[in-house]
Amino acid sequence: MNELKASKQLEIRFSEVDSMGVVWHGSYMLYFEDAREAFGAKYGLSYMGYVDHGYFAPIVEQSFQYKKPIRYGMRPRIDIFYRPTESAKVVFDYEIRDPQDESLIATGHSVQVFMDLQYQLVWDNPPFYLEWKRRWGVMSQE
């Protein structure tokens, strides 16, 4: 099965640094969002694309592991990996690394589900998503 991966260099804003002099833990949520946008742009799985097909794709689970601080002036890279799933979910793993030595700064995991435009949970893989999985060779069904 193909591994779908996208990367993005992060620009650290001064406003993201907290009183300990490191990037505030909550800022990472936005970095992960940036990574999902980069992934969507590369593979055609964007938020607006979901809506065009008549779905929302809300986050229902998001976790972080903080291993090393990010300081102002650093230019870390975030890698986002698509994790194939048979259920009607979009699952990603994330790694933030320091390009200087490739050391791992943080990891994370997110799960999105599909809702129709009436905000009802969708139980089955939407047809456009099945088609997307087929196109990129990430169908986990036999």
């Binding site: 009607a88 589900v113 949970l121 139980w123 089955d124």
Partner: protein
């Protein structure tokens, strides 16, 4: 039927990564969602895959699904009647 109930409990444990549970700890007549086992609607997405993959049952209608996923006994009865594999 007893066999199918045990098998379903094992499959549910596997599908939802409840590895610290044993089938004995799941009461077949206890609600799976909310109270009882405390599953939520996101967990139901995995049960749908389980029914489709293991038993060849395709549930697309959430209203129908809610009734079928009431408890393990109800799922077992539905599987027994509708399974295609």
């Amino acid at each position: 039927m007893e066999e199918l109930i045990l098998e379903l409990k094992q499959e549910i444990i596997k599908a939802l990564n409840l590895e610290d549970m044993t089938p004995d700890e799941i009461d077949a007549n206890e609600p799976l969602f909310g109270e009882g086992l405390g599953l939520d609607s996101i967990d139901a997405l995995e049960l749908i895959v389980l029914l489709e993959k293991k038993y060849g049952i395709k549930l697309a209608n959430p209203a129908e699904g809610k009734a079928i996923f009431k408890d393990v006994t109800t799922i077992a009865a539905y599987v027994k009647e509708h399974r295609t594999k």
